[in-house]
């Protein structure tokens, strides 16, 4: 009879209420029964104000906020997405993820079962890459002031590459690879949104995944990695533009070589989207010296999830700051940044 004094026991709530962020017993039970049960790390169990961790060597740090609608989509949910996103940012720094801190902003009214599932998939995704969640926080906002769950995460990782990965190391002549087909995540999420009234016949699953195996495979193959980037918002075209600008080089993209699954292409035709600008959450763009490209590609293709890796282009001295896409017609065009998010179009 632990809670005779509690006027409303935790178990009667099926949804998030403001009290879940209020600092009282209701909040503590949420932390104990939902978060600690899933994450179960010692530093977290200590329930201190923060975690103390020992560091040696180079440390990579990244921070990111995650919002996605719907919260659950084919191939993942916002919980696994937050881990994969954080892991992939660390991977792009040449690091293997070690610890992570998370804060949840919960909207009043969110079903606790849904939250439990999200936290569960977050824990599973973290375990998969040996990542420990060492500190966390929960706040609750009034109904209508949030989109179910927002997650903010900070990841720490140990650098495992021999040298730094950076756009500044990209050189004319380098090969550009992608670790798999592009656009799956963005299309899978968009098709799930209410109001689009589009059904699927084929297979639409987000590519959201950790790219740590790809980094390890590339390092094991002895490839000299220049730069890694995960093509999330704005997709492949946007990432290539960012690198072209930062490195002051041109990027030549071979349109026909970019792997896009037929299903994704069909959906993009229907919605009037360009798959080159659609987000991935489990892919890397890899810049390597040309002589290392065959080994890099072979290593990637031997890695589960990256069987569809492809060489898509090359870095050029000409057209510095621009991405030039070559069409199957032998013509080229500038592949620019978009003004904003792609919206389904009629014309």
């Amino acid at each position: 009879m632990a809670d005779a004094s509690c006027p409303v026991p935790f178990s009667t709530y099926e949804r998030v209420v403001l009290a879940h962020g209020g600092g009282g017993r209701v909040m503590h039970r949420l932390i104990d029964e939902l978060f600690l049960a899933a994450f179960g790390a010692d530093p977290l169990r200590a329930q201190h104000d923060g975690a103390v961790i020992e560091v040696s060597g180079l440390l990579a740090v990244t921070t990111d906020a995650f919002t996605v609608r719907p919260l659950v989509f084919p191939g993942g949910d916002i919980g696994s997405l937050a881990v994969h996103g954080t892991v992939n940012d660390l991977v792009c720094c040449g690091a293997t993820p070690t610890q992570m801190t998370v804060s949840f902003i919960l909207e009043e009214g969110l079903a606790l079962e849904r939250l439990r599932a999200i936290v569960g998939s977050m824990a599973a995704a973290a375990r998969e890459v040996g990542l420990t969640i060492v500190a966390g926080d929960t706040k609750v906002v009034e109904r209508g002031k949030g989109d179910g769950v927002f997650i903010s995460a900070t990841g720490l990782g140990r650098v495992i590459t021999p040298g730094p990965l950076s756009p500044s190391r990209v050189r004319p002549g380098d090969a550009v690879l992608v670790t798999g087909p592009v656009g799956d995540h963005g299309v899978a999420v968009m098709l799930e949104r209410e109001g689009l009234s589009v059904d699927t016949v084929g297979d639409f699953v987000s590519d959201a995944a950790s790219c740590l195996p790809q980094l390890r495979a590339l390092l094991d193959a002895g490839v000299d990695l220049r730069c890694l980037r995960d093509p999330t918002r704005g997709g492949l075209a946007t990432v290539l533009n960012e690198i072209a600008r930062a490195a002051e080089v041109g990027v030549h993209l071979d349109d026909a070589a970019v792997p896009v699954r037929a299903e994704v292409r069909d959906a993009c035709e229907l919605l009037g989207l360009d798959p080159l600008y659609v987000a991935c959450e489990g892919r890397l763009v890899v810049f390597v010296p040309e002589p290392d490209a065959p080994a890099a590609l072979a290593a990637l293709r031997a890695t589960p999830g990256s069987e569809g890796a492809a060489r898509v282009g090359a870095v050029t001295r000409e057209h510095a700051g621009l991405v030039m896409a070559a069409s199957s017609f032998g013509t080229t065009r500038v592949l620019d940044l978009l003004s904003g998010e792609q919206l389904p179009r009629i014309c």
Binding site: L191, D199, G202, E263, D266, E269, L270, G272, I346
Partner: protein, 74 residues
């Protein structure tokens, strides 16, 4: 202008307000399309769809003729 793409009519049914509708497949995606403007289109026909409306039934013989004239494979 006017993004319109070819799709295959999978079935016909009565939609809201008694309007004729069809399930139309565009490769791996499918959506409900108003067929009020292509009363002659049946299951198995290809139609061209713009903003949720089939605006024409596609003519395969005409397509093959265009391809023949330009010497492209059909």
């Amino acid at each position: 202008m006017c993004l319109a793409i070819p799709g295959l009519v999978l079935e016909r049914f009565d939609g809201p307000g008694g309007l004729p509708f069809g399930n139309v497949r565009f490769g791996a995606v499918r959506r409900e399309v108003c067929l009020a403007y292509v009363p002659e289109a049946g299951v198995g026909d290809y139609v061209i769809v713009h903003v949720g409306f089939a605006i024409q039934r596609l003519d395969e013989a005409a397509a093959r003729e265009t391809l023949r004239l330009i010497g492209a494979g059909a």
